[in-house]
Symmetry: C2
Subunit: 310 residues, 2 copies
């Protein structure tokens, strides 16, 4: 494999999510030099493209930065020029690369948002010393990213590293994907809220209320976090058999719990992994780059020579 060859110039990264668009001008060292955000209008593709153009113009600041990466909460094709489906934006079979190339007057590199965030952690964050990295992003669902042999794992159909959809409980809880027992159903932020509600006899909890309970040392809230950690430990015991990461990064909203969470996951992982643990064991660490990881990763991916098919 060729060593990293990265143009030593600033790049722009735009992270298009379901609720907001965040754009960053990013140095070759991964520093965010400037940051611009806009609210997303999920059901208007035209408004989203217009907002991206505005953000890019603002970040250009008079120059025309030729290197633009885009992270999107979407299922992409393997060649990363077509969005099959974006669950929270009204894009279906949308030729995003061509549309943005025309709108911005320069080529763009597109990547799935969980992959872009994982790439940022690998290059500049919690995975920067890793040779093989896995990232689990705990939010509404459980997102995933894998960096193996120095590359993002994209998969044969573009849907690699959907780590939330390994099955940890055959015949278990029904998942949005249609399957039963997916890791996502036991380890997402949504699952954390559900676990806490069950323990507290509540119907619903906002994430602010949940944070308050953690601050107050609520045993029910910590019990719910422990349940999430156990599911993750069990899932990771299977996942390590596939890609054998040396570093596992936990990101997303739930990861705000920090080392309380990663230490608990580690404990459950070692227990589930059991006697095999005489081998070197992956370290499990919190993500470091927070909300801008998607934009930073997209910018950095855009600086790299385009991946060639094997």
């Amino acid at each position: 494999m060729a060593p990293h060859r990265i143009a030593p110039v600033d790049a722009l990264g735009i992270d298009i999510g379901g609720t907001k668009i965040a754009g960053a001008r990013v140095s070759p060292e991964g520093q965010v030099l400037s940051l611009v955000t806009r609210k997303t209008v999920p059901d208007s593709p035209e408004d989203i493209i217009a907002a991206v153009v505005e953000i890019v113009n603002e970040l250009d600041a008079g120059d025309t930065i030729p290197t633009v990466g885009v992270a999107a909460a979407a299922f992409l094709n393997r060649d990363r020029d077509l969005i099959y489906l974006a669950p929270n934006i009204s894009w279906r079979d949308f030729p995003i690369s061509r549309v943005l190339h025309e709108a911005l007057g320069r080529p763009v590199v597109v990547e799935n948002d969980a992959n872009a965030a994982g790439w940022a952690e690998y290059r500049f964050g919690a995975g920067r010393d890793a040779r093989s990295m896995m990232m689990l992003t705990l939010g509404t669902g459980v997102g995933g990213a894998l960096v193996t042999e120095g590359q993002l794992l994209v998969g044969g159909f573009g849907a690699g590293a959907e780590l939330g959809h390994i099955i940890i409980e055959p015949g278990g809880r029904l998942c949005g994907c249609g399957n039963r027992g997916c890791l996502e159903q036991y380890a997402s932020g949504t699952a954390l809220v559900r676990e806490a509600c069950e323990r507290l006899g509540r119907d619903d909890l906002s994430s602010d209320e949940l944070m308050e309970l953690f601050r107050a040392g609520s045993p029910e809230a910590f019990g719910a976090l422990e349940a999430i950690a156990q599911a993750l430990g069990q899932g990771i015991a299977s996942l390590v058999a596939v890609t054998d990461p040396d570093t596992i990064v936990i990101g997303g909203g739930v990861a705000a719990a920090g080392e309380v969470l990663t230490e608990s996951i580690t404990r459950h992982f070692i227990q589930a992994y059991g006697p095999r643990s005489r081998r070197p064991v992956a370290q499990i660490v919190p993500a470091q780059l927070g909300n801008t990881a998607g934009a930073v990763g997209a910018a950095d991916l855009a600086r790299r020579p385009h991946r060639a098919s094997p």
Copy 2:
């Protein structure tokens, strides 16, 4: 990623297994030009090295072929120069690269045998049109190999693609690895024999007897095969969420059952994968290269520029 750059010369591949050593002179197109085998003396590392030297001399046939690859049934370190452990050969922390370099007077490239066989199928066999390939080798245990983004997935600690050790039945059957419920316990050749014995009320069955039962159309034997296929379908439904292969190759002794087996696995996979199957679905196909795949893959790997760390 750089395109394949392969020296257009013959290479030697040596597959060191627990019962025999097979050496092949292999053309750049993957053809076996000559084949030499010796029995393995599992408890004598010196005899194994001496046998490899004999085989290489015979395959050299007067030249000194500079390109030698070795496949070994062993846990290797990430740099592929040290055997941590070979379950069926008395090697512990054995510096195989250095020893063979000295014995053969030329450098060697070493790979795990399941990986080498998987590489051969990817380059010349059932996976030659794949962009992302997974191979499951059904023998005494369940071995695995993954080719993603044009490279063998080696993993952070050298133990990637141990696909037999994902957990399909939490708390299930005890595995040799110390865990419970590993795929290997439900889908190996060993499991097939156990399933057939249970159905026939027998204590044991040789693989020849089992083959005879298949030929005779025994419902018990086919029921056992169906049980194996179901476990594989279930395991594959999780595995595809991780690496998203477009091609899944089934190899090893059990794969001699051919398309009866792969069609049954496909049926169970689609059932377990369920509604997600509106996406493109990986094809599941029998291996094509048989017993020499390990030697062919090792030879081809030796022809390639050595992988660099990222």
